[in-house]
Symmetry: C2
Subunit: 556 residues, 2 copies
């Protein structure tokens, strides 16, 4: 006999929607501050009103539920407000990667079928030549910090401009009744580039983001204070908010009711001022930003007072970790990717860690760490068998977690591949230690990560191969102290073309940049002319061998 | 146009079921220890095998999904294994409150229609006279630490005895494939007593328990280290595991992969030994247990080395808090109840708390604290209007959270009342400060909480009124240093019965105890003979006035 447990008719079944993340802050943190660089300070009480105002502005557009609202902005209070108001109004926020080439930015807007574009005046050039008449974008909201007028910027499409963000908010009511709805409603989308072909759209539901937020708070909260997050911390992102929800931290910090600082454009001196003056105590970034901060801080003799910094996006090197620790930055590693919302693993500190040497301590901070709660991580061989965690056997890291993208948007083939066998494929090759430490050794996908951004080897190869002197070309990633990895192009010239120089080849890459086909950072930093390229037994470029031949070590 | 975000066919949609709480521990904590008093030590790797073994034992009974398995045990490794294996096998675990009167214990078993009874030999007397032939219980599993034989214990029902727990596990396979299923499947049930009438059954789904666990880790994790929970902590419950999932901590500690200590019966000296020898660093209990520990520790000169202790169930008094802090126990308050799974609020420490006097610090540790993440707490007046949080306006504390019982089991009327207006009614009268601090001032329900257990005033009044000399009687709770509250009976004797003594009246209460009608702690500690009882304008007993008249202060 099975029992039936009936719910009371008016029992609240509590959907896991983003609005619920505000429950504690609404009661506990109304006087806490949210700061936008040197431009704006407000309390959470103001923030809640501004979310309501933004919701009213969006409602006036008569959009349909599920419509996409694209944001192109620096890390700002506006972005934070959009993180909440857009999905809480049952629209989808598209966080546009403004570092992509203009071609790809436009591709992602078109592909997502965004109806509203919230664009910072500084990014207007990226979309200036956008064919709005053929696009889904019906409304433009102008974001501006410099007094730049939107007049005439969009030419014949000027009528699509709804107005400037602050003016629109000022005119809107600060009351809005956010409804409950299905927690599986999609809340956010953005595009991941770097692998071959067009950028691929990932997407996350309210439920997924709520579960990511709770688990992030639990995972970072249960680290010892020196490394973890606690009530009383001050948060500032140093990973752009268009990058995988800035590691989900804006949601987590808001749920916790922390003081938050949004820095705008990442200029080293103003970042250092904010860290110092606002007492920022926790942040996250790619190694390139850390390096930039260290250099700037050294120049002015600023220390970091135990600032906790989670490094993701590219591998933290031992040298950089050591330099950061010397400046009193508690630096360690988080691992994740666009498809994973992103948190998957963290360096696992414990109050009962055994004594370790400085070298051992630094080494573990640079590893991929251990899976966080709820994450089911396995290492699979080619036959999808789970391999033992013995620190030796190597295979693909595959995942289950409550917050993984369930496919790629309108790309079923890639989605099927992503989820082959019921686990999400990271395309990272790894082994695991008996204590759950993941060690990534290689990448399945042929991509290069420079300053936290993906570069597709194939795409650069295709462009370079258009040069009339090029017979064969391969682009590989080589370890770079500043950017993590940088592309190196290995080129075989056609017979009789031996006069062709690196600058000749580079010119065609720069031409592709100026045409918006590839981003600036896609231009290889090194060109190496060789007689032939190493091949695998089946005749493919053997990039593993190339990495050994052409660089001291491959960047991972 | 709304977009459609299709999932890949083999994408894993990740139900929030209890099995997922093990994901991290299975990878990271296989060598970590779980300890049962001085009787057993095992690793998590053993624990996972034993869960599989228990699942195999249960599977051999050919139960239906949703069948109830009742557990009557001290806090043990067996209980922990049942917390996981029972719901993970799609059965419902009933955690039986063994402190209730035998009548009520049997009532709860019957009402829940338990099919399996896992009973510790020390509790066998409670169910010895149970009419198994008329009951739902088909199988009995014998739990024993003392070599007590089950032979003959159950008389004609001996055939229902499946065997002794450890022997059954020893014979079972340690492989079991736990399936996925609907996260809204009910996982646990137990009964709350104290208000008038029969005990009421609350119930919680897998989803609710997973969300409670994540939020508990996030809420306690983000407290500063001195008060919160971190990786490396050692957990021991001091709230019985039949009481609201021991505050959910066994789930939380397991998810985190902490070292765990289960103490068995709460004997002061063995508890102190375990705390010292196993380096227990976090626990939770009612004030009565804290007081018992302090006394025992004083006798042997043991200090507590920063042991964090969350007090719930009854109000922590300033005097007790001060005494605990003096012995180096980091003591503070958690608030919740059977209906709330239970976590609702915690004393909120922050790294940036302003300097405060010892008195202020102690005072906040004794308050109900601030709502934890995800909890939507309001103060309602009688018209269900939400009152402002101004530290003044008083009403009923009502709640929404992802883990509140959705009704009472087979008691729709009480369930409707619980959820009147779409918020869960705590029956606690409170106000809130502007910073979210909840201050409970009174209780709507006429109950007394003694040593963490509810006593129904009405029930005791009914029994005392059966004495032939009693004309009128009222039972109220008065503050008690050891038990939190104790019942006081105010009695008006009939004319000509003035010779009746307190002992005469007490005898009838003790008679009710011996007949299993009320628990021992239901016998009033004080009997007060009065000429008349104060009444309200509508002629009801005015218990507020009585509390002022008969005691220095009413216990809350």
């Amino acid at each position: 006999m099975s029992n039936h447990y009936d719910s009371a008719p008016s029992a609240y079944s509590y959907p896991l929607i983003i609005k619920q993340l505000l429950n504690r802050a609404k009661t506990v943190s109304t006087e806490q501050e949210i700061i936008y660089a040197d431009k704006l300070r407000m309390t959470y009480a103001d923030f809640f009103k501004r979310i309501a105002k933004l919701a009213n502005v969006l409602e006036s557009l008569n959009l349909d539920k599920g419509d996409v609202i694209a944001v192109m902005d620096w890390d700002s209070h506006r972005y934070l407000e959009s993180y909440f108001a857009v999905p809480m109004s049952q629209y989808v926020i598209q966080t546009v990667n403004v570092r992509l080439s203009p071609d790809k930015v436009l591709y992602t807007l078109n592909h997502a079928k965004s109806k509203v574009l919230m664009v910072n005046s500084e990014f207007a050039p990226l979309v200036a030549n956008y064919q709005f008449e053929n696009s889904s974008i019906e409304h433009i909201i102008w974001l501006d910090d410099n007094g730049t007028s939107v007049e005439g910027v969009f030419g014949v499409n000027q009528a699509r401009v709804l107005g400037e963000y602050e003016s629109l908010l000022a005119a809107a009511s600060d009351q809005f009744e956010f409804q409950d709805f299905d927690e599986n409603t999609i809340a956010s989308t953005f595009y991941t580039s770097g692998t071959t072909g067009d950028p691929k759209g990932v997407f996350f539901s309210h439920r997924q983001l709520v579960l990511h937020t709770l688990t992030e708070a639990a995972s970072l909260g249960t680290l010892p204070d020196k490394q973890g997050v606690s009530l009383g911390d001050v948060y500032m992102p140093l990973t752009p908010m268009f990058h995988v929800h800035a590691w989900g931290f804006p949601f987590t910090a808001t749920m916790m009711g922390l003081k938050q600082v949004y820095p705008g454009r990442y200029a080293p001196d103003s970042l250092l001022d904010l860290i110092k003056n606002e007492k920022v105590s926790i942040t996250h970034c790619v190694p390139t930003i850390l390096q930039m901060l260290l250099q700037a801080a050294q120049a002015r003799g600023q220390k970091f007072d135990g600032l906790r910094m989670i490094i993701g996006g590219s591998r933290l090197t031992e040298g950089l970790a050591k330099a950061a620790l010397a400046e009193d930055i508690e630096v360690y590693t988080g691992y994740g990717m666009s498809e994973t919302a992103p948190l998957i693993s963290l360096t696992a500190f414990s109050k009962t860690d055994p004594e370790m040497t400085e070298e051992e301590d630094i080494s573990r901070r640079c590893m991929t760490g251990k899976p966080v709660m709820m994450v089911d991580a396995e290492i699979w061989n080619d036959s999808q068998d789970s391999l033992p965690h013995n620190g030796k056997e190597t295979g693909e890291l595959v995942l289950r977690a409550p917050w993984l993208t369930q496919s790629y948007f309108k790309n079923d083939d890639a989605g099927r591949e992503l989820w082959a066998g019921g686990y999400m494929h990271t395309q990272d090759i790894a082994y695991m230690e008996a204590d759950g430490t993941i060690k990534i050794t290689d990448r399945l996908k042929d991509v290069i990560k420079s300053g936290g951004e993906w570069i597709s080897s194939l795409e650069i190869e295709t462009i370079l191969s258009l040069h009339p002197s090029v017979d064969d070309v391969a682009v590989i990633g080589i370890r770079d102290a500043q950017w993590g990895e940088r592309p190196l192009a290995a080129i075989v010239l056609k017979p009789g073309c031996q006069d062709t120089t690196a600058d000749d080849i580079k010119a065609i890459a720069e031409q592709a940049v100026s045409r918006g086909m590839i981003p600036k950072y896609g231009v290889p930093s090194q060109f190496k002319f060789v007689d032939s390229l190493p091949k695998t037994s089946v005749g493919k470029h053997d990039k593993k061998v190339m990495c050994e031949l052409y660089a001291d070590q491959k960047g991972i």
